[in-house]
Every structure is written in C-alpha cells, then in structure tokens.
C-alpha cells in the first residue's frame, strides 16, 4: 500500500569516470566536486548543526558550555598574564578574549580537518557524495562554535566598554579569506591524513607550538623593534587580519599582504593535492 508512493531523486546524476585522467580532466572533476558539495548547503548546514546538538544532547546549557568555558579561561588567564606581562588590564583582557576565541576556532578547525574523511568512512564507502561536503561540514560546524564563543568577546567589550569602532568592519575581508582557506585546509588535511596516518599527531604538535609563537596570549608589540619577524609566521598573519580590526587596530599592509599570500599558497597547494588524489581517497579509508 505504501509501495506506490516511491519518491524520485530530484536530480539525475550521470557518472563518467575513467582512469588515467589528464590534468585538465582532474581539475574539472575537482571543481565539480567543490561546486556540488557547496550546492548541498542545506545538508551541510544540517549535518554541522546536528554535530553540535549531538555533542550537547541532554546537557542543560548545550553549546553554551563552550561559551562558559571560554569565558572562564579568559578570566583565569587574563588577570595572571596581565600581571606577568605588566599590561593594562582594560587593554589586555579584550585582546586575550578575542585572541583565544579566534585561535580556538583555527585550532579546532585544523584538528577536525585531519579526520575530515576518515571519520566519515562509513558514509564515503556507501554513497558517492562530493568530498567538499565533508570539508564544508567541518567549516560550518566550527563557525557555529565560533558564534557561541563570540558571546564572550561581546561580554568583555560590554563590561570594559572597549568597542573597536568602525575599524571592525575591516575584519570582514579577513573573515572571507578565512572561510575560503578553511575549506582548502579541510580538503588538504583531510586527504593527506587519510593517506598518511602519521600526519595528525604532527599537525597536533605544530598547532600547539604555533599557539605559543603566534602572539595569541602575548601582544606582538612586546617584541618591540623585532616585531617584523612575525611576518614570517603564517599563523600570526592570518590571525591578525581578523583580530586586529576587531580590537581597533588596522593591520599593516605588509601583514595583510603576507596573510593573503599565505592563504593563496595554501589554497593552491590544497587544490593541486585535491585534484590529484580526489579519486583515491575512498581507497585509503
């Protein structure tokens, strides 16, 4: 009785796959993957949102536990480091809150990217879906977390009344740069980590090191006349193009150019790797 109500899949797929593709074909396949993956944004959004909901199902505060723990972290570290670094508390706390929130986003994104494909093994091996879908899911999920944590920054701004003003709008191009680069990183690390199982621990230790050298908890100004070396730190440059405007500092042209350069390089490498190995990922899982 129910059998007559079969639904039709909405799109008619047609597949044409062959071995020994030329590079132009590989690029076309990779581009198609990205396009189709992003076209599935309702699914991406639902998956990302469910990830968060599931993590906190049955808990009273839900995702706001993230907010609370970030807030506690800022409170605890803020007073200590302001004293250690001999910095003005009113100046340092907003900086630290913003830094930690943004860095948590970057670190979680990179960490999740390492398991972008391996954690979806079951799905990848039973249905053909664009790989970009899994990468975008990670980006969106971490954006949702970032939105929750942003409350901490807003509260700190409110309490200390230290709004960044119109300069904050300059963070928008930075955030766009982040989004594109985040997707590239998820595809790149997802693919590499599926193939080489030694990479995730390496990435974890690099990120830990980067946390200490990228002026997350200390201020780049503390380097005084040697501040210029920071331009060689990709993490710092990428962090600064979003963080700077949000605490009312316009990033220098050099830092902005370096950030754009690092982002383009990262996207380029990700594109080449993804176009090369896309068809092989399912075999590695």
């Amino acid at each position: 009785m129910t059998a007559s109500s079969h639904l039709q899949p909405s799109e008619h797929a047609s597949l044409d796959l062959s071995a020994n593709q030329r590079w132009s074909e590989r690029h076309r396949s990779a581009w198609r993957d990205v396009r189709e993956g992003l076209a599935q944004w309702p699914l991406v959004w639902t998956l990302a949102w469910l990830d968060i909901r599931l993590r906190y199902r049955g808990s009273l505060l839900g995702p706001f536990w993230l907010t609370l723990s970030t807030g506690a972290m800022v409170g605890a570290m803020g007073f200590l480091y302001a004293v250690l670094f001999r910095l003005e508390l009113r100046d340092y706390i907003p900086f630290l809150a913003l830094s930690l929130v943004l860095w948590n986003f970057l670190a979680a994104l990179v960490g999740d990217s390492c398991v972008a494909f391996t954690s979806n093994e079951g799905m990848i091996r039973s249905v053909r879906m664009p790989f970009t879908l899994y990468a975008a899911r990670i980006v969106v999920r971490n954006l949702v977390v970032l939105a929750h944590n942003a409350v901490v920054v807003l509260v700190v701004y409110l309490l200390l009344w230290s709004w960044p003003g119109a300069t904050a709008l300059l963070a928008i191009p930075g955030l766009v740069l982040w989004l594109v680069t985040a997707l590239a990183v998820a595809l790149l690390l997802g693919a590499i980590c599926a193939r080489l199982h030694d990479i995730p621990p390496i990435v974890a230790s690099v990120m830990q090191m980067a946390f200490f050298i990228s002026a997350v908890i200390w201020k780049p100004e503390q380097l005084a006349e040697r501040e210029w070396v920071m331009v060689f730190n990709p993490f710092f440059c990428l962090l600064e193009v979003v963080r700077g405007p949000l605490i009312g500092v316009v990033p220098s042209a050099l830092i902005a150019a370096a950030a754009a350069g690092y982002a383009v390089t990262l996207c380029g490498v990700a594109w080449v790797v993804f176009a090369r190995v896309r068809g092989r990922i399912a075999f590695w899982l």
């Binding site: 047609s14 071995a19 799905m123």
Partner: protein, 261 residues
C-alpha cells in the same frame, strides 16, 4: 507508472580494473602474508607498491529492462563492482559510465545516527537524496507508515528495538526510486515476519527501476528477479548469461525451477 525522465538509464563499463593499495604496516612482510592467503590476486603496480586486484578487466553493458545478478564466492569482487558502479571507487584502469539517477543499497544503516530521532534521521536521508522540503515530508510519512514507528518517530533511534531499526533502515533505503538500482545481498535477509512485507515493497521498487544490479547468494531470488547473471571469480567475469545457466555452472548442479508466483 515510471518516471517522466527523458534520458534512458544506461551502464557502460569498459576494461574496468580496481585495485587496492596496501599502505599500512610493512608492505614487504605484508606481501608475504597476504600472498599466501589470497593467491593470484596480488600484484605490484608501476611504482612497486603492493596492491590487491579486486576487479580485473570488467566489461559490461546494461540497458533499460536489464536485471543483472552477480553471483560468486566471498571476496570475488561483487561488492567492489557495486561500489565501482555507484561511483564510490573510481576506476584504476578502464572506464565506467552510468546514466540516470542511481541508488545503491549497500549499507543497511547508511548514515543512520542512533542519537538522532527517527524523524531527524529521515530528514537527514532526505537531504542526502537531494529532496526538497515537501518531498521530505512525504518521505517521513511513507517511512513512518511502513516501519510502523508511530509514537517512536520522535524518540532517539538508540532506544528502538532491533526490529524497528531494521524496518526503519529498510524503509528509508527503499523509499526513493532511482533509474538504476544497485543492491547488495544483505538486503534480502531479515526476520521472517517482516520479510513478506519487505519483499512486496522491494519487488515494487525493483519493478519500477530501469536497471537492476543485484549481488546475491540466493538462487531463487536470482531466478525470479533477474534476466541475466554474471559469475564473478577472483575479480574477473567467469561466466555471463541467462540466470539458469550461470547458476548451474556456479553451483555445479542444475537449479530447480522456481515455484510460480
């Protein structure tokens, strides 16, 4: 009864080979170990990596109306061929073309999350199928009615009985009718009470699709449903022809005539 789709379904496979690289562990010692168990399927590719050749030089052409059964022992490459046709494994050599919408029933619990409610799982699957909001509502109704979940629909799948989970998974997977249906044998196994109902639904689905590729061990299903059979052995096509003949070769004895239905 069938679709308004203009392009007829088609499957064209030419010289398709699929091999799995063995990266993990020490390839050299692994080579010896595996060589002794999987005889004749090991090879080294151009870069001297050890690979398992899961499919070798498969040629296949299917047109609307074709119902193909894949028979063969465990590890003969049946599931790998289904996965390759579904586009999950891309060809290592050769070419594979599938025209028309496709659904592969490979994993009974595909994407089913035990922490989510039945309804949430249905919505999620609907999105995977690329359905719009209205169609998803229809899907939820159809699946809930078939799986007899009623009050349980808004409770987490985690607390379902195993029978309910099987029914939900089955109802979900069979709710969408594609042009090309790929089906693994697990789909025909289930508890007896549910089987009759499931079979009616599955037969309805199968009748509506243009091309069916079924991997099965059950001779009677192959005979009833299929118009052609392929005997897979060690990744190659060993025999190809009408189901009765191929089954006879594969089983080594003539198969009984199925009871009239």
């Amino acid at each position: 009864m069938t679709t308004q789709v203009s392009i007829p379904a088609a499957i064209d496979v030419e010289e398709l080979s699929i091999s799995f690289p063995l990266y993990h562990g020490n390839a050299r010692s692994l080579k010896k170990t595996v060589l002794s168990t999987v005889t004749g399927r090991m090879a080294a590719d151009s870069r001297n990596r050890v690979v398992v050749e899961a499919l070798r030089g498969i040629d296949l052409k299917l047109r609307p109306g074709d119902r193909l059964a894949l028979v063969g022992g465990n590890g003969a490459g049946k599931t790998t061929l289904l996965r390759a046709l579904a586009g999950i494994y891309e060809p290592v050599a050769g070419r594979m073309r599938v025209q028309g919408s496709l659904n592969a029933l490979l994993d009974p619990n595909l994407g089913m999350n035990p922490e989510l409610t039945g309804r949430e799982n249905i919505v999620l699957r609907g999105l995977f199928f690329g359905l719009d909001k209205q169609a998803i509502a229809g899907l939820a109704e159809d699946v809930a009615a078939f799986a007899e979940l009623t009050d349980f629909l808004d409770l987490p799948v985690r607390i379902y009985s195993s029978g309910m989970i099987v029914r939900l998974g089955f109802a979900l997977a069979t709710a969408v009718r594609p042009q090309v249906l790929l089906m693994d044998e697990w789909f025909l196994a289930g508890d007896a009470a549910f089987m009759e109902k499931a079979r009616v639904r599955l037969e309805n689905l199968v009748r509506g699709v243009e091309i069916l590729v079924l991997s099965s061990h059950m001779a009677d299903v192959v005979q009833q449903w299929c118009t052609r059979a392929i005997w897979m052995d060690q990744g190659r096509i060993r025999a190809d022809g009408p189901p009765d003949e191929v089954l006879e070769q594969y089983l080594g004895h003539p198969v009984r005539v199925p009871p009239a239905t």
